[in-house]
């Protein structure tokens, strides 16, 4: 590396932009966060003293649909990034909006699911299943919500004409976050819904 490169404000030793490195490191930390939450969920499996139990309430077909929605939002996200990188403003807006809206639909599904559970008598404090379930999926939902806000702000930026290809890095970082949240859901979908104890 030349002296000049080192003087450049965007110089990094590895060639990886700071923010991208930050996001990956943060994702590492998030692995432990969700790991601990999943641990809590798993060790308390089958320890509910009163019903309703998971098998009574979990609606697999419904969740399959919202899972599909979230997966598709990840697709929209990569397409948005790709559009931003190519300077295709219209496409970028379209896909960013699609990502955010799919995220919102997922959240809507979660809100519906939660209120359905509460309606069926499974409030937060009802039993060990409800406590661990709401904590785990709630934390995930909060992550989705933050992602939606983030994506929306990118969308606004794009409409203000401030999301040119030179800003692709920001979109990429937001995308990493978004995909990670999706990845967590892939695990939760399996662990909570498909591997529900009979």
């Amino acid at each position: 590396m030349s002296q000049n490169a080192a003087m450049d404000h965007h110089y990094t030793s590895t060639g990886i932009p700071h923010r991208k490195l930050l996001m990956w490191t943060f994702i590492g930390s998030e692995c432990m966060l969700f790991g601990s939450l999943i641990t809590g969920y798993l060790v308390y499996r089958g320890r509910s003293l009163v019903g309703p139990y998971p098998i009574d309430l979990l609606n697999i077909p419904f969740i399959t649909v919202t899972t599909f929605v979230l997966l598709m939002s990840s697709l929209a996200m990569v397409l948005a990034l790709s559009a931003v990188q190519r300077g295709r403003k219209g496409q970028a807006r379209l896909w960013l909006a699609a990502t955010a809206i799919l995220g919102l639909i997922f959240l809507g599904g979660q809100v519906y699911e939660f209120s359905h559970f509460v309606h069926e008598g499974l409030g937060l404090t009802r039993n060990m299943f409800s406590a661990t379930f709401f904590l785990l999926t709630g934390t995930h939902g909060a992550h989705v919500a933050i992602g939606v806000v983030w994506l929306s702000s990118l969308l606004v930026q794009s409409f203000r004409g401030k999301l040119g290809p030179e800003k692709a890095e920001i979109v990429e970082v937001a995308g990493l976050y978004w995909h990670f949240v999706d990845v967590v859901w892939i695990v939760l979908f399996t662990v909570i819904y498909l591997l529900v104890e009979a």
């Binding site: 965007h10 990094t12 590895t14 060639g15 990886i16 932009p17 991208k20 490195l21 990956w24 490191t25 994702i27 590492g28 930390s29 692995c31 432990m32 969700f34 790991g35 601990s36 999943i38 641990t39 798993l42 060790v43 499996r45 697999i60 077909p61 399959t64 899972t67 599909f68 997966l71 598709m72 990840s74 697709l75 996200m77 990569v78 397409l79 790709s82 990188q85 190519r86 300077g87 290809p165 030179e166 692709a168 890095e169 995308g175 990493l176 995909h179 990670f180 999706d182 990845v183 892939i186 695990v187 979908f189 399996t190 498909l194 591997l195």
Partner: protein, 102 residues
């Protein structure tokens, strides 16, 4: 991704078509997962099958959508290391709480 990024490290090109393909595969795997769930005959193998399927979805998203397949060892290590620690702790705790031994 034909335009080089501002920082000039050329990332391998992944076409939009690849992305769509991956998404289709993800959707199909999800569908298979749910089918497996409902097929009585497979219930003894449910856990290993589902874990394999969801792990492959996991890898597809991380590898392609998150680009890790094309990133260097640094980012891969940053993700794989913590993931391994987290997985080990989940398994260790399940063992300690007798989840495997009943």
């Amino acid at each position: 991704m034909s335009e080089p990024t501002a920082h000039g490290h050329g990332e391998p090109h992944v076409s939009n078509r690849t992305y769509v393909l991956i998404a289709v595969v993800l959707a199909v795997i999800t569908a298979v997962e749910v089918m497996v769930f409902y097929i009585e005959a497979l219930s003894p193998l449910l856990v290993p099958i589902l874990l394999t399927l969801s792990a492959s979805k996991f890898l597809l998203v991380v590898g392609f959508f998150m680009h890790l397949k094309y990133d260097g060892p640094m980012l891969r290590g940053l993700f794989a290391g913590p993931l391994a620690v987290a997985a080990a702790i989940i398994l260790g705790m399940m063992a300690l709480f007798g989840v495997f031994t009943g």
